[in-house]
Every structure is written in C-alpha cells, then in structure tokens.
Symmetry: C2
Subunit: 244 residues, 2 copies
C-alpha cells in the first residue's frame, strides 16, 4: 500500500502510450469548446484520419474511446453523433455495469437502499424548505397519481413522476439525473411486479401521507411515511431479483 505512491509516479511518467489518446484529447477538446457542435454527426473516419494524419485504425480506436466515454453516440452503422457531456451522460456510462450488478447478488438491494437513503433526505428537505411552487407541483403529481389508480401503466408513470418532483426540489441538476438513473435501472424489475388497484390505492395513500407531512412542515413524519412506503414497494419488487 505504501509503495503505491512510487508506482503512481512511474505510471504517471508514461511518455506517450497510445497514439489514439492524443486524438481523443483533441476531439474531446473540440467538442467541449463547441468547435464540433452538439447533436451533429462527426466527420467521416477517412476525413478524420487526414486531419490528424493518422491511420484509420487509430482514428477508429479514438472514436470508440470517445463513444465509451459517452461523448459520442455511435450507432452500429451510422455516423457517430456528438454529445456534449452532462450529468446524464455520466450516469449513462455506468449503466452497463450497474445492470450487471443488479442481475445477481444483493447489488440490487444495495442500490435500492441507497435510493431510500436519498429520498429520505429529499423529503426532509422538502418538508423544511419546499417553495410554494414545489408544493404545487407535488399536488399536481399527486392528483395525476390518484387519477391513474385503475390503470397499471399510467399509475407506474405517475408514481415515478411524483417521486421525481422530490428530486427537483433541491435545484441541483444531479438529483433529477439520479432519479432517472434509478428509474431506468430498476424499471425492468419493477415492470415485472404485478399491480392491482388495491396495491395502487395503498401506494397513493402513502404518497398522500408524504405530501401532507411536507405540507405540515414535519420532516420526521415525511421521512417516516417515505420509508414505510418504499419498504412496502421493495417487498413487492425485491423478490423479482435473482436470489443467486
């Protein structure tokens, strides 16, 4: 462990390494600086190999790397499309790995626990500092949720939306991203859960409890309601993960 510093020094001293890295760097820079516009296709590979005077192999490798980082969206047979990075891009790149960890072992449970942790904090904050607008949005999402009790798919969507509103309250762009990450990662399993009007009614009641607690500026009650709500949900969804 202690000699890590030395090895790090050596690795840092690597002089050139890959040729593609230089190209990656330059393209990345151009994307960030706006020389290469967002949502436009990348120049053709043969064009790039001329600009950087490199072989197509290297250009290809560079493109692949950028795509792996999420700066390019490379569909199989189409031109890669420029994607300026945001928090969503970051979350996307982890997606494939998270997916792996969800499949077996208790990775899914860890992830869900983290979600409970986050939302507990969110509802507490909401209870103490939600603005009039936040509350109006919550109310609206709640109404939509109630209206969808009889429709499984719609209820799922409005459920997500209600929780999603909570993630917007802090005004930090990381949270909405986190929310969409949680939902997309857990969605396939969630969909596998059987739904019933009765179950939906219970869920709605939980949402209502959370909402009222926020209205009454009672963080503890809000947190409590949220925890019981999510625990119930988990008892329905958890079993759909492979026990391995």
């Amino acid at each position: 462990m202690t000699k890590a510093s030395r090895s790090k020094a050596i690795e840092n001293a690597a002089p050139d390494g890959r040729a593609s890295d230089a190209i990656v760097e330059r393209i990345q820079e151009q994307i960030l600086s706006g020389t290469l516009l967002h949502n436009t296709p990348l120049p053709s590979e043969r064009d790039l190999m001329e600009r950087f005077s490199a072989s197509r192999t290297v250009v290809r490798e560079a493109v692949a790397t950028l795509a792996g980082r999420g700066l390019l969206e490379a569909k199989p047979r189409y031109r890669p499309i420029i994607r300026k990075p945001g928090f969503d891009t970051a979350l996307n790149t982890v997606g494939s790995i998270v997916q792996l960890m969800l499949q077996h072992q208790q990775g899914a449970e860890s992830l869900f626990e983290s979600r409970v942790f986050v939302e507990r904090g969110l509802v507490r904050d909401a209870a103490t500092s939600a603005t009039r607008e936040n509350i109006a949005e919550l109310k609206e999402a709640l109404a939509a949720n109630e209206a969808a009790i009889m429709d499984f798919d719609a209820f799922y969507d409005t459920d997500m939306d209600f929780h999603g509103v909570l993630y917007t309250i802090p005004g930090n762009p990381i949270f909405p991203t986190l929310h969409s990450a949680y939902t997309t990662w857990l969605a396939p399993h969630w969909r596998r859960m059987e739904g019933s009007p009765e179950f939906n009614r219970k869920s709605y009641a939980s949402h209502l409890a959370i909402y009222t607690a926020i209205l009454e500026r009672d963080p503890d009650a809000a947190e409590e309601a949220l925890v019981t709500h999510l625990n119930v949900s988990w008892s329905s969804v958890g079993p759909t993960f492979a026990p391995k």
Copy 2:
C-alpha cells in the same frame, strides 16, 4: 422525421450489428462466471482471435470495449487485467466525465452540494443508529485527526478518514465507494487549498462537534455541525475552481 419509425424498426431488427459485441458478451460472461479469474491477465490477442475465430481487429475492439466498461484494466503496453465489476468499477468509469464537468461551470458546486446532502443523511443515521463499534471507530479517527493538526498532509488524510467512517456506518457498500469517489474527484482542488494549524484546529473542532452530537444521539445537532463544517470547507476550496 415520420419515417423514423420505419428506420427504427429496421435498426431494431438488425440481427448482428457489430461482430465485436458477440465477443464482448462472451468474455464478459466468462469474467462474471469466474472462468477468467479476477486480477489475472487476459490471454494474448492472438490467442483470443483463435478461440473466437475472429480477426485481431475485432478482438482488439472487443477488448477496448470491455476496458471502457471497466471490466478490464488496459495499461498501454501491458496485458489487460481482468477486473470483476464492483461499485468501485462503476464509479471509475464515470470518473473521466465527472472530471470534465468539474473543470469549468458550477458542476463542482453541484457535486459538492450532493456530498453535503449525503453526509447530512449519514450523520443523522449515525446519531440514531450508530453501534458501539461505529462510535469507537469515529473516536479513533477523531484522535488521529487531532494528533495531525500540525501536519498538513496528515491532517488531510485523517480528515478524509473521519468522514470515511461515516460512510461505513450504513453497511451498504455503495457508500464507501461514494466516499472514495468524492475524495478522488475533489482531491486535486482540495490539495490546492492552503492549510494552517489554525484552520486545522477549527476543522478538528467541527469534527469533535459532530462526534459529540452523534454520541448524544442528537441528529439535528449532528446535521447542523456537519453543515457548518462543510460550508466552511467549501468557502476555502470553492474558489480554486475555475470561475469559467
């Protein structure tokens, strides 16, 4: 635009796409199943092209993809090393993008805010449910922190450690990973901050306040102490980020 539906149908029906994807999948499977052992080097490319009866180009592409996902650690001129994925792997893959967003704009502030949010939850939980062992660890970390007040580097390390203990309390592997992510991402800027025994003494006092609040099972006081502590820290570190 309207014909997008047709093209999407076609793309969806694409049976093979990339040839490397098949190889990626098989290697990934072997890594997960343990056929390819953790921390051992991957077979040579020429070996792999024989096993999968594919060209070296494709094999190389597959390896690059795996490396991008974090399942392989590919240093420039060495054999790629198998890495079984964990939450740390996931965090690593986002690293490069997060790094980008830290450089300019207020991405750094968003990230720091999220850290404050997380640690607020952590100290609350610690205050309500820390075990005897947790508290012992905290006490130990606190003592080490105090002993290092005169040494800038040592104080930085023990500071990290103290906060790190908080991340271990929930017993969820995601949190320690998150902690190391936060520290590695923010470290370069943190190091740029000038330290003084006086400043360290104040930080230590904050840590002590957090610790006592946890001891007294007072979540609100613990959260309060944590928030003021981190706000002070940010006022020192924040300015080191490029204002764009």
